[in-house]
């Protein structure tokens, strides 16, 4: 894989960061990454993007009143606990 293959690499990136690519292809990408700083940045920022979305989403809380209205709608009031 040479510099011309940076664009081709994009097609494999997602599976690469998930560790789902076959070993031979992984090794080929690893070799390319040793020589190509741009691709290293793209991979690192892709992983960071996923991490940021996961981190931010964990902070989304469900308001208590949403849960309460859900139990009411389902006529499960008697099982609702604060």
């Amino acid at each position: 894989m040479d510099q011309q293959s940076c664009r081709q690499l994009l097609a494999w990136l997602s599976e690469y960061v998930d560790g789902e690519l076959e070993t031979k292809l992984c090794a080929e990408i690893d070799r390319h990454l040793m020589e190509c700083e741009n691709c290293r940045i793209v991979i690192d920022s892709l992983e960071k993007t996923i991490y940021l979305y996961q981190s931010v989403s964990q902070r989304d809380t469900v308001p208590t009143e949403v849960r309460e209205r859900l139990f009411q709608r389902l006529k499960l009031d008697e099982f609702f606990e604060e």
Partner: protein
């Protein structure tokens, strides 16, 4: 990190017999993950609440049809996802397409100069303004890509499970996930690179 709960241990027999305490336990276990899914899909708390209520109402009505082959969580995800996609279709019929064949070629979107914005401090990466951009970026995805990204990367389902929820092959899930991730990375990179350059000036 994900929204996944431990493997469920519910009595299908009780659920099918209409046992309300068991159903309440099911609701208690899964309401958060369903609400978060809906919120990420629709970006509107009221719409998300509607989907949440509709999902469990339908689950209660149709629990007899659940054959137990998939996990209950997968089944609930399928109901919620269908509800969310139908909601989008009703809201924006002119732009909705489950197949969305008109994806731009992400490989053509890469800028020549690539900035490493990861050095920005965490508080800037997750500032309120940054989160608004992140939400907007998700909403800019075609719904067919958004749903795969939300299920796989935010809710933490496996590729196989996402395929089960959406009736897609694993290859199709991987392709859509890759497109979604690359688009989101490009959008976030554009935003954070501006922040990085502003910080240097």
């Amino acid at each position: 990190m994900s929204d996944r709960k431990p493997k469920e241990a519910f009595s299908l027999e009780l659920l099918r017999s209409g046992e309300r305490a068991e159903f309440a336990r099911l609701v208690e276990t899964y309401y958060e993950m369903i609400y978060r899914l809906a919120l990420k899909m629709l970006n509107d708390p009221q719409d998300a609440e509607d989907i949440l209520q509709e999902t469990f109402t339908k689950a209660y009505q149709h629990i007899q049809n659940f054959d137990g082959r998939a996990e209950l969580s997968t089944w609930l995800y399928r109901i919620a996802t269908n509800e969310a996609l139908m909601h989008l279709r009703r809201k924006r019929p002119q732009t909705f397409s489950i197949e969305s064949p008109d994806y731009a070629d992400e490989t053509a979107q890469e800028p020549h100069q690539i900035l490493d914005w990861r050095s920005l401090p965490e508080e800037e990466l997750m500032s309120a303004e940054a989160r608004t951009h992140m939400d907007a970026a998700i909403q800019n995805l075609p719904s067919s890509l958004r749903v795969v990204f939300v299920l796989r990367d935010i809710q933490g389902l496996s590729t196989r499970e996402v395929g089960e929820v959406l009736d897609l092959t694993e290859t199709a899930v991987k392709t859509r996930l890759s497109r979604a991730r690359l688009r989101l990375r490009a959008e976030l990179s554009s935003y954070y690179s501006e922040r990085l350059e502003a910080g240097r000036r």
